[in-house]
Symmetry: C2
Subunit: 100 residues, 2 copies
């Protein structure tokens, strides 16, 4: 899993969000380091939904603009956790932070 994908899942950790809200949330979570291109975002959402890591939970129209809300599935939550653990372990190989 690559970084943009990881942060997209991470953005859905606390609550379901629609595409654009994910965009801003990812920037927030990464402290501005990751700013998703919309091409990356919407293609990733389709792919992750196909893979069953996220799912559409609501379609609404606000001010004439469509909003499609996505939420993590059980699989998605597990994959996100696993990925975080993997990264933490990989980081420790170099940082040698507490042999845990």
């Amino acid at each position: 899993m690559r970084e943009p994908t990881y942060f997209i899942l991470a953005a859905l950790q606390d609550e379901p969000r629609h595409g654009y809200a994910i965009l801003t949330r990812v920037a927030e979570l990464s402290q501005g380091r990751v700013t998703l291109a919309t091409g990356t975002l919407y293609q990733a959402l389709d792919r992750l939904a196909r893979e069953g890591l996220i799912e559409v939970v609501r379609d609404e129209v606000v001010n004439g603009r469509a909003r499609r809300h996505y939420a993590l599935t059980g699989d998605g939550r597990a994959a996100l956790r696993a990925e975080a653990v993997r990264m933490a372990e990989a980081a420790q190989v170099v940082l040698r932070v507490r042999p845990a």
Copy 2:
């Protein structure tokens, strides 16, 4: 930077190594999780040398077999550290391990 690349650099942290030694060291460091295909390895070595993150430090022939030894450059060491910090921070977003 993707995982295979990260572990290739990490394998050179303590001392210079030749390709095949990097292969086995990566498996060791990742506890068997990452087993590099030779295609990935040798192409990555070329690329990383081109980018100045690693450099050839010695060419030798042992038992009729060539060995090309690579070492981290200053840039490579810095890039590796930066990547490790980035991953640790990204992992914390999900794991919320000690606000540091």
